[in-house]
Symmetry: C2
Subunit: 350 residues, 2 copies
């Protein structure tokens, strides 16, 4: 899934060129490229689909030359995750009714790719044999109030544990309690299931959406697919897979992830990914000369010298046509700031 | 005079491209161009000389196409103001023994060019008739501790008043006292005199320098001039015209300037030039979106959007390969910072 616009990462992430297409960590690869190569260790490239907005087709093809245009499913409108996941499942099912699939965001960070691969194989095996919907649960290392949580059945001592419920972003006290309980995980939005299981779940729980897309089965994976999607997709309900299926289904299991993960959801999350120490400065691409400066997130789109004196806990982002100097503690306001900038200065910067 | 390197304006001002060659105020003209056109209202372009370091010849010729290469006097070494002024005076004298001249820095700001022209004409007239060394004194509007002061004779009620003494940069209490006295002026480093008077003064007070350059009289204004300067100039004493002549001479008069002036000596001075209100933000070239931000000096080398939240009294400078975020109150440390940067990262940024 590569259709988001990553508005909390403005000014780097823009509607024209969102976060997943940027080398946010300065590793030499964009997040999409990182995600592709991580998945490609277990999924052959010809079995990969990129689900994205139609305006990003060219970026996807240039960043992932391993795939062909027919593997990029273009959403003519933004409808959250449920519609594109059902569409992808139907496409795979038409090609292989016994297929299993993984659904993954393209803009997250996973540290240990070997561990990821092992976890994934365990889930694929389970989904091949059982009618289950599996989610990867991240071991919560601190009471993060920015993530959703998954509550697993304490009694269940299997590798894949029964999920009791999904819990929305908690307040701090609740998050602390979750951590103390020991059977809560962060919801990373990475799902594994057989196409049969997920299609069955949609048929039961999202019948309108199921019928909307089932009518086009004959068109899927053919030259008529695009015309069908363009007409049907805008009529799909705008809903996440979590709300549509996961929170209602009875057959959801969670596999505890054995890898470190970061959703890179905000500049602060990127800071935390780069350094464990909140008082250190995290620097991407810039050449830093920092004095009396702590806890800053410094990101430049080119290798430029950044001299800072007497500044703590700021987000400092520099790109060709925008400079942002913003308190880290207000990072959640960047989405709103983006709206102000769009209103005041037009689309050039957003 | 356009030979300085303006190190307090780093990172905009660099050895390769100093302050006077930048459009520091975003007016569409560089400070050198502004200075040239201001002087050109009273001095014909063929009578103009630019005294600068040899590395800036091409910049001078491209920024001031009105002059020819022979009008750019190239200093092979940095020797402060006295040597280049004597050299210029000798060159003019050889062409016109009765000439009067003005010496002016190329990196200051003068608001009212008409008033400047009137003051200058009065000084030229006086210098044509009398053996005097005239300096323009700026009416001090506040007890600035960063400028030198000129003390004039309280008893003298002529337009050009006798100077009692030059006073180095005072402390705050002394500066306040100067202002209260009423007969003190800021020293703007703008001088007017006949070539005869200044040459006579050098002959008396700086005999070594006078003889050093007098030996080359036959070479001046000829093709041999450059060779002579290249050999003799490095042997000249490294001394300012203030120390060498003005503080010792008995025939110094001051003309109170009727124009507003700013030496643009620091980022803070540039801030003060742009806005009288110290709590306002001063912005050059940038497109600002500033919230909860006061008293900042924002300068960008391109028209880029600058978003700042929660920052007061900072210097924010952005150019292609350097970003500086520095407290305004530490602006005097920028010269030292420049040294650190040069030592750590080499010449690329300085």
């Amino acid at each position: 899934m590569a259709g988001g616009i990553g508005s909390r990462f403005w000014p780097v992430s823009t509607t024209q060129f969102p976060k997943q297409f940027h080398d946010m960590l300065g590793t030499g690869q964009t997040l999409l490229q990182k995600t592709f190569s991580r998945l490609n260790k277990i999924v052959p490239e010809q079995n990969m689909q990129i689900l994205t907005n139609e305006r990003y087709l060219d970026i996807c093809l240039s960043q992932v030359p391993e795939i062909t245009e027919s593997q990029v499913v273009l959403e003519p409108a933004m409808r959250n995750t449920a519609p594109c996941i059902l569409l992808a499942a139907l496409k795979i099912h038409k090609e292989n009714p016994n297929g299993v699939m993984i659904v993954a965001p393209s803009d997250h960070w996973i540290e240990d790719e070997g561990a990821f691969q092992n976890d994934l194989e365990a889930c694929f095996n389970a989904c091949t044999e059982q009618d289950i919907l599996v989610t990867l649960g991240i071991h919560p290392t601190f009471p993060n109030t920015g993530y959703g949580y998954i509550e697993s059945d304490k009694q269940d001592d299997a590798l894949l544990k029964k999920v009791l419920q999904f819990r929305e972003k908690p307040n701090y006290a609740t998050a602390k309690q979750f951590i103390a309980e020991g059977n809560f995980f962060w919801n990373a939005g990475i799902f594994i299931w057989s196409v049969n299981s997920i299609i069955k779940a949609f048929k039961e729980m999202m019948p309108a959406m199921y019928h909307l897309f089932s009518e086009g089965i004959t068109s899927l994976n053919t030259q008529k697919e695009k015309a069908f999607i363009d007409i049907s997709y805008p009529n799909a309900e705008n809903i996440s897979i979590d709300f549509a299926i996961m929170e209602k289904a009875e057959n959801v299991l969670v596999k505890k992830a054995t890898f470190d993960w970061n959703d890179l959801g905000t500049w602060g999350a990127l800071h935390d990914k780069i350094t464990d120490n909140s008082t250190e400065n995290a620097v991407v691409r810039a050449i830093p000369h920092l004095r009396d400066a702590k806890g800053n997130m410094v990101y430049t789109s080119s290798e430029k010298l950044v001299v800072v004196d007497g500044l703590d806990d700021y987000i400092i982002v520099d790109k060709e046509n925008v400079l942002l100097i913003f308190p880290k503690k207000k990072e959640q306001d960047i989405k709103q700031l983006l709206g102000e900038v769009k209103e005041t200065f037009g689309e050039d910067y957003t």
